[in-house]
């Protein structure tokens, strides 16, 4: 049995990280843009058409048959994707089958996990799965924080996942790609059928680099399935199932603008900040997420753009009804969509050539010749904690438990201005703290914190500090905000941890940014 980790070192962010994880050497974080990889990208073995049906029909009878055909065995790394969010029916079945076959020590490499995957805890306990590389949400996060996972859990961003697969840090033996629509050859997309998810771009890296690729659909159509978001030429076999996702849970992200007056206030302040600083200008670009506050920010952007007659060149989604409306009314030229949050987004992507499906390769991969993230004028993101140096945490809560994945958050930090609209505290839980429990994003990349009690600008952004002068915005220092929170809520105690490291947080370049320790219970 390989050791979870060995020997610790201090990285460039001052955080203690292992030199080796799960039996492999690890590189400590060296600073933003400092680590330069060497060598070649990972290359899967060369296939031959001679080994595949000449008529292109790769259908096999069942998921079980496909997994067996692909050589499922002990110790393999199996990947899945979160296009179906909390309505995913595939990941659990894969490991039910593996368990049934008596296979052990698998590594699960999901692009994200959801509460529905609590089902897998039994397999983490009985040894069917040894560890998760990807994200651990909700119950799986708690399980990890309790030190119950056999191997070391690894957290990566969406872009970091592409990087890791491309660079060979994360070698995938079998990937199972669920798609709303596919043909027997394996061409697939998320646009048509009952389990529509819009883009299925999170599976791109897996299709390109995994040794074996299985496409599963509940809507099989005759060749050709277009557009082929996933190309059949990468696919080993295809499977038709009755149902691969629960439609109403696929669009489980928050799809309504918040009605909370406090959150609306924060969203409005965020939009006013962007207006006052000239971030909202002709031809600008923005990214915003799916939460109720993010949607409200987008809606306030829309109002400002209407009033001033401003058009955005592109918006990065998370698409949803509101973004689609802006596209259709001509306030956005293009939506570059990484994941689609509601059926309006799905329909728009299918019908509108200006609503384009993207992947973590185009948007986020740090080991590429550039990516889209840096071109975005403003990214509106969230956080569970922010410290006085603007460092932020998105994975653990203030009680120390791992509860969220990184998503595209780290990658979006490279946009020109990063704004975190967050309440200063909620039900006595403060967001601004003296030190983050887990470091997920270095403060030098985080520019503005907007709270209901004022806006703090990173002192590194002298341009923004100048731009807001005389604009009547409630500008305060982050220390002032912190002190106000302490005055109202009290100075929080620190959660208590054991020494044991249970998970590591990777930076976008594959280096180790921080470690997560077992919570003392």
């Amino acid at each position: 049995m390989t050791k979870k980790y060995d020997q610790l070192t201090i990285n460039a962010a001052g955080r203690e990280v292992p030199c080796e994880i799960n039996g492999k050497k690890a590189i400590p974080y060296q600073g933003v843009g400092q680590y330069k990889p060497e060598g070649k990208k990972y290359g899967p073995s060369i296939p031959s058409c001679a080994d595949y049906p000449a008529d292109g029909n790769k259908l096999v009878g069942s998921l079980r048959e496909a997994l067996v055909k692909c050589g499922l065995k002990d110790g393999m790394t199996i990947s899945t994707h979160h296009h179906f969010r909390d309505g995913d029916l595939l990941a659990n079945q894969i490991f039910d089958i593996a368990h049934d076959l008596g296979i052990r020590d698998l590594v699960w490499a999901p692009s994200a996990s959801f509460p529905c995957h609590e089902h897998l805890i039994q397999y983490l306990e009985d040894g069917t799965i040894s560890r998760i590389e990807g994200s651990m949400n909700g119950p799986l996060g708690r399980f990890t924080s309790q030190g119950r996972m056999k191997g070391m859990a690894v957290l990566r961003s969406h872009g970091g996942r592409y990087q890791a697969i491309q660079d060979g840090d994360l070698k995938i033996d079998i990937t199972v790609i669920g798609a709303a629509c596919a043909d027997p050859f394996g061409n697939a997309n998320g646009l048509f059928g009952t389990s529509t998810s819009g883009s299925i771009g999170f599976a791109l890296a897996d299709s390109q680099y995994a040794d074996r690729v299985i496409v599963v659909t509940d809507n099989l159509i005759p060749f050709p399935c277009v557009p082929w978001q996933i190309q059949g030429n990468y696919v080993d076999c295809t499977v038709l199932m009755d149902q691969i996702g629960i439609p109403e849970k696929i669009v489980s992200g928050t799809t309504q603008i918040t009605k909370s007056p406090d959150r609306l206030l924060i969203a409005e302040l965020t939009a006013r900040f962007c207006e006052a600083t000239g971030i909202i200008h002709e031809g600008f670009s923005f990214q915003s997420g799916a939460g109720g506050t993010s949607l409200a920010v987008g809606d306030f952007f829309h109002q400002i753009m209407k009033e001033k007659g401003i058009r955005a060149r592109f918006a990065r989604g998370g698409s949803n009804l509101y973004l689609v409306k802006m596209l259709e009314e001509g306030y956005i030229d293009y939506i570059l969509d990484g994941q689609t949050f509601d059926l309006h987004g799905v329909k728009s992507m299918a019908d509108n050539p200006r609503h384009v499906a993207t992947s973590p390769f185009t948007s986020y991969n740090y080991h590429g010749k550039g990516n889209f993230a840096g071109m975005v004028d403003v990214a509106i993101l969230g956080a569970t904690e922010i410290d006085l140096n603007f460092n932020a945490n998105v994975v653990t809560h203030s009680d120390g438990y791992l509860l969220h994945g990184i998503g595209g958050w780290q990658n979006c930090l490279f946009s020109k201005t990063v704004i975190l609209p967050i309440p200063l505290f909620r039900d006595r839980i403060p967001i601004i703290v003296d030190q983050v429990t887990t470091l997920c994003g270095p403060g030098e990349l985080i520019d503005v914190i907007v709270t209901e009690r004022g806006i703090a600008i990173n002192p590194l952004r002298e341009d923004l500090l100048t731009a807001v002068e005389g604009k009547g915005l409630p500008i305060r220092t982050i220390n002032e905000l912190y002190e106000e929170a302490v005055a109202l809520c009290g100075k929080p105690e620190k959660p208590e941890f054991e020494d044991e490291i249970v998970a590591v947080v990777k930076w976008v370049d594959g280096t180790l940014l921080d470690s997560i320790r077992r919570v003392r219970e």
């Binding site: 406090d262 206030l265 039900d427 209901e452 005055a487 109202l488 959660p495």
Partner: protein
Amino acid sequence: MKIVTAGNYGGRIRSDCQVMIEPTRQGGIEIELVSKVKALYGRGMIAQIQRAMDHFTIQNARVSLHDSGALPWVIDARLEAAVRQLSDVKDELLSPLAYPGSAPSTRDRRRCSRLYLPGNSPSLMINAYLHRPDGLILDLEDAVAPDKKPEARMLVRNALRSLNFGHSEKMVRINQGAVGIDDLNWIVPHGVDLILLPKCESPDAVIAVDEKIRQLCQTYEIDREIWIMPIIESALGIERAYAIATATHSVVAMAIGLEDFTADLGVVRTPEGAESLYARHALVNACKAAGIQAIDSVFSDVEDMEGLKANVLKSKSLGFDGMGCIHPRQIRVIQEGFAPTAEEIEKAKRIVLAFMEARKKGLGVVALGSKMIDPPVVKRAERVIGQAVQQGLLPDNWHLTME
């Protein structure tokens, strides 16, 4: 022995807590703490409970605190409310004065938008000032269930001491009659600016409140003015509106409550409000005659912003100066609706400038173009300018920046 409880916990309740105390004969203070912020404030909360027990000299008891993120002043109020059910303690457990030295309010300050906050619901209080209403009303009357009235007093008192009111006037709506007079004991010493007196039907009710306030101010050596806003909610109240408005010097505004008023009349309250038109006219007239602000009834559909806006414009045209709010999102609609329009401001500026010009030249008669302007017109224009400056629609020195 009897077990007492105070506060709220469970379901969708947030930023509150429930305290249970069971007195025991021995074993000291045993504390059970259930809280989602236990990892962050657990030790502090246990120390706070211990301090409260020491304060009330309780030596043996089982105390349990079920918490959903209550701030310290809320926890104190709940602890005290529980202890008071055990015995009639004299001593209060006062939360710290978080914003000492806040300026007293003035007779003529703007009271256009006032947000009602249920007096026993801390979660709604904490961020209320951020929505910038002219006043925040901590309600001890209809928004508090009868069995929760005693504990609401302590919560409201601690809120007056510890809550940030920003630029909003600190208001409390007390209960009617003797209970209301007793309410004053809990709030007058703690920084309240204005008392709302509900279902007021006679000048005597106002005088009783005023006298009690004076008495308490003397006892506690308070020299700030505490104003009174009677709410008229019955046919009899309307008939006596002027007498109520002039009952004491401390009455600075008077409001109408149409739900109770229409019930008293035995009619249905309609959006058009024909059934209450007389009462609204009468109330405005009494207020203007008494030189105080006239405040219209709340608009109860918080989703219907268009309806609210129409209602506000109607209200403004009748002569009202403001309206109560029952949801933060109503505040801006009300403030903007009552604010003078750009056209009104422009016209007022020209009138006031012409008046200043005439005075400078020593002219007794003011003319704007070919029109003579009477003093009441100037007075109204000055009022509009005053409102515009107060609401930030015009700079203070507007006349210097004019061409």
